[in-house]
Amino acid sequence: MVLASGTHGPLLESGWLLAIQVVLITTAFLLLTKPSQNPRREVLLLSSIVLFTAALRVAMEPLPNVQPVTMACLVAGARLGLRRGVAFAIMVTLLSNMVISDGWWTLFQASGWAMVAAAGAKFLNSEGVLNMRNLLYLSVVTSLLFDWWVSLSIIDSGTTFSDFMLYLANGFIFDLLHIFATMTFAMWLAPALSDLISEDATLTESVLAVGETDVVLG
C-alpha cells in the first residue's frame, strides 16, 4: 500500500523514531551475534547484498510499489537461513528508508520483510536448490500479505473497520503491481542472487577447511 509508504502514516517525534531504530538495529545485531566460522567473510557477504538491495530499492522508488526487497528477502531467507535472513530484511529496510523516508511505517516494513525472509527460510530452502515454482507462489502470497501488514500503520483512533477494508480495496491495484514486480524480479534476478550467495557460502566453507587443516598441521 503505497499510501502507507511514508505518505500518510502517523508522524512520530524524533525520540520515538530513534527508539524504533534502536530496537530494529538491536534485533539485527542479536540475530547476527552467533558463532561464525568466518565472520569477516560473512559480514562482507551480508553487507554487500544489503547494500545492493537497498540501492536497488532506492533506484526503484519512483515506480510505486515496485519492491525488489520482497524477492531479495525470500532468497536471503532461503539461502542465509532464518536468523541472517531476518537481519538482512531489517538492515535493508533501515538503510533504504534513511534515503526514502523514515517513520512509523519503518517498523511495519522491517517486520513485514522479516516475515517474508522467514517464509523464504521455511518454504524455499529445500536441498540447497532454489525452488522456482515455490518462489513464484511465495512472491504472490508474501507481496500481498506484506502490503496488508504495512497498511496497518495507517490505523489510528478514527479508523473504522470499514474504513480500513475500503483502504485495502482501493490499494488493490498497487498490491497487484507489487505482486507482478516481485514475480518479475524472481524470474530475472532470483537465480543469480541465489547463486551468488550459494557460491560465496561454498567458498567460505572450502576456505574454512583449509584453515582448519592449517591449524591442525601447525
Partner: protein, 545 residues
C-alpha cells in the same frame, strides 16, 4: 538659442508621447477583495468592476472604477452584502422616460437585495431600492426594458423606472432563485429558479409557470428562433431544453449561455457547446473545455465575432472560440480559476478579471501568451508503455503455444509491470472510481447548514479554533480544486506537499499537527487530493489526523 528651442521641443514631444502611452499601456491591479466573478464594464473612459469581498471579515464587496491608465476614479462598498455577489453590473446610457431623465449610469444589484444606480462618471448614487432577502438577495443578471430596469429578485421580479427608481411592477413567485438572470421578450419577462420552473411574467402581472425538469435554472433564458432555450443544471450533469423539449444532455455545472446572430454558445465543466439556431437548433459541435461562469461575445468591425469563456480550473485563462476547430486559450500572468467574462472596449481594449481578484487591462497591441488548441495532447508515456506491453505479449506468445511457462512469465511480466507502474495513477483512479460507484456514501450533511447549499459542493475545515464551513460551490471535480476554492473564499491558507501518490495537505491556516485527512461524504479519502474526485453535491470534511 536654437539648440535650447530644439531641446525644449524635444522635451515637449517626449512628454506628449509618454502621456499618450500611459493611456494605452497595459496594467494590472490586485484588488485584494476576493473574487472578480462578473465581467468588468468598459465605458468610454472607465473600467468598472465588482469584487465579491473576502468573507473572513477583512473586506466587504466593492465596485471600483479606474481610468484607462489604471488610476482609481471612484469606489463604493456594501458592508451589508452577503455571499455570492454574482449579479453582473449593468450599464445604462442616458435617456428619458418613466420618472424623467437620467444620465449614464451603472446599476448594481447586491446580494443583500439592494439595487443601486450610480452616476458612471462620479459614482454618486442616483437612486436605490430594496428587494426581499431570503438568506441572500439578488444574484441574477438584470435587464433593460425601455425606460425600466428589470430586477430578478430572490423570490420574484421587480421593475423600476430608470430615472428615479420608482417601483413599476412587483411580482411574487413561489420559488427561490439563484444566479437566475431575467430575459425581456416582446410581451413578457422570462425567469427561472432553483426548482427548474420557468416563469413567464406578462407586463399585466399574469404569471405562467412551466416546470422544465428536475434541476436548477441558473441563467437568463435565451430567446432563439426555435423557442426558449434553457440549460438546466441537474444533480450530476445538465440538460438543454428548447421550448420545454429535451434537446441535449451535457456535462455538469453549466455556464451562462449566450446567443449572438442565432448562434448559441453554452459550456459546462466538460465541454464548450455550439448550437446553430438559425431555424431549428442544431448541434454544430462540442469542444472539451471547462467553463462555469459568464460567456461573452467580442464583436469586430468587419462583422466577425469571437466567443470568450473563462476557464474555471487551476490553469485558468480564457478560451477564445471562433469555431469548434479554431480556438485557443489566452493566458495571463496571473492565471487562476476564472468565472468572469472579459469586458471589451473600443480600439481593441479588453479587460480581464479572475477569481484571485486581479484586474488586467490590455490594449489590442498587447499579445498575451496563447495556447493553440487543435487536438488533445498525446499521452506519450501511455503510448510507449502500451507498445512495450504489446511487444512483451507478442514475444511471450511462442512460449504460451509451447507451454513453456517459465519463459512465458519471463517475457510477459516485465511488460505488465512497466505498463502498470507508469500508468498507475490512471489505473488506480479508475479502480477507485469503480469502487466508489459500488459503495453508497453515508453522507455528511448537517441540518444546521443553509438549505441553499443542498445540491451544491460544501467544504468543512475542522480547525483547532472551530469549524469553518463554506457551501454553494459548484463545478469542481477534485478534492484539491474544491478545497482550494473554499479556502480562498474563507481566507484560509493551505500549504501542500507532493508525494508519488499525489498532493497532500501539509497545513491548514498554519496548523500542521500530525497531518490532515479528509472525508468525502463521510467516507475517508484514500487518494491524493488531485486524484480524489467529488460529485456536484459532495461534502468534503478536513480534520486533523
Amino acid at each position: 538659442m536654437r539648440l535650447v528651442a530644439l531641446t525644449l521641443a524635444l522635451i515637449c514631444f517626449t512628454s506628449l508621447v509618454s502621456a499618450h502611452s500611459t493611456v494605452t499601456d497595459n496594467w494590472e491591479k490586485d484588488l485584494e477583495n476576493g473574487y472578480i466573478s462578473t465581467a468588468p464594464l468598459v465605458t468610454e473612459h472607465l473600467v468598472i468592476v465588482r469584487t465579491s469581498g473576502t468573507w473572513d471579515g477583512s473586506g466587504s464587496p466593492h465596485v471600483f472604477a479606474f481610468d484607462f491608465s489604471g488610476e482609481p476614479v471612484w469606489q463604493i462598498e456594501n458592508p451589508h452584502a452577503l455571499h455570492n455577489d454574482l449579479s453582473p453590473l449593468l450599464l445604462v446610457t442616458k435617456g428619458q422616460g418613466c420618472g424623467g431623465t437620467w444620465q449614464d449610469m451603472v446599476i448594481i444589484a447586491w446580494a443583500d437585495g439592494k439595487v443601486q444606480a450610480l452616476d458612471v462618471a462620479t459614482g454618486t448614487e442616483q437612486w436605490s431600492a430594496q428587494t426581499e432577502v431570503d438568506t441572500w438577495g439578488i444574484t441574477g443578471s438584470l435587464a433593460l426594458d425601455g425606460d425600466l430596469v428589470v430586477v430578478p429578485t430572490r423570490q420574484g421580479l421587480s421593475t423600476y423606472c430608470l430615472a428615479d427608481g420608482t417601483l413599476q411592477q412587483r411580482v411574487e413567485l413561489n420559488q427561490l432563485g439563484w444566479r437566475n438572470g431575467v430575459t425581456v421578450s416582446d410581451d413578457a419577462y422570462l425567469l427561472g429558479n432553483e426548482e427548474g420552473v420557468l416563469n413567464t411574467i406578462y407586463r399585466n402581472g399574469t404569471v405562467i409557470s412551466e416546470s422544465i425538469g428536475d434541476g436548477k435554472i441558473r441563467h437568463a433564458p435565451l430567446l432563439t428562433n426555435a423557442g426558449i432555450l434553457i440549460h438546466l443544471q441537474t444533480k450530476s450533469a445538465s440538460e438543454i431544453f428548447i421550448n420545454g423539449e429535451l434537446f441535449l444532455t451535457a456535462g455538469p455545472s453549466p455556464a451562462m449561455p449566450v446567443i449572438y446572430n442565432n448562434q448559441v454558445y453554452l459550456a459546462t465543466s466538460e465541454d464548450f457547446i455550439f448550437l446553430d439556431c438559425s431555424l431549428e437548433c442544431e448541434n454544430v459541435g462540442i469542444t472539451p473545455f471547462h467553463s462555469n461562469g459568464e460567456i461573452a461575445i467580442q464583436e469586430f468591425d468587419d462583422g466577425e465575432w469571437k466567443v470568450w469563456a473563462p476557464q474555471n480550473n487551476p490553469e485558468g485563462g480564457w478560451g477564445v472560440f471562433t469555431t469548434t476547430e479554431d480556438w485557443m486559450i489566452l493566458q495571463s500572468p496571473n492565471d487562476d480559476y476564472a468565472t468572469a467574462a472579459p469586458g471589451f472596449g473600443s480600439d481593441g481594449i479588453y479587460v480581464l478579471g479572475n477569481d484571485k481578484g486581479i484586474l488586467m487591462f490590455y490594449t489590442s497591441q498587447h499579445n498575451n501568451s496563447v495556447i493553440s488548441q487543435g487536438h488533445e495532447d498525446l499521452d506519450y508515456i501511455f503510448i510507449i508503455t502500451t507498445l512495450i506491453l504489446l511487444v512483451s505479449i507478442l514475444a511471450s506468445a511462442p512460449a504460451f503455444i509451447f507451454h513453456l511457462h517459465e519463459k512465458l512469465l519471463k517475457t510477459l511480466l516485465p511488460g505488465v509491470v512497466i505498463f502498470m507502474a507508469f500508468n498507475i495513477t490512471m489505473i488506480s483512479t479508475a479502480w477507485s472510481g469503480y469502487l466508489s460507484e459500488q459503495i453508497e456514501p453515508e453522507g455528511d450533511w448537517d441540518d444546521s447548514w443553509s438549505e441553499e447549499w443542498k445540491g451544491s459542493q460544501v467544504v468543512v475545515f475542522e480547525l483547532p479554533e472551530g469549524q469553518i464551513v463554506f457551501g454553494g460551490l459548484s463545478g469542481h471535480k477534485t478534492v484539491e480544486s474544491l478545497t482550494d476554492d473554499a479556502a480562498f473564499r474563507v481566507g484560509i491558507l493551505i500549504e501542500k506537499e507532493t508525494f508519488d501518490s499525489g498532493e497532500w495537505i501539509k497545513s491548514i491556516n498554519g496548523h500542521e499537527g500530525a497531518g490532515w485527512e479528509f472525508k468525502i461524504d463521510g467516507e475517508r479519502g484514500l487518494l491524493g487530493i488531485s486524484e480524489a474526485e467529488v460529485t456536484s453535491d459532495s461534502v468534503i470534511r478536513w480534520y486533523p489526523a
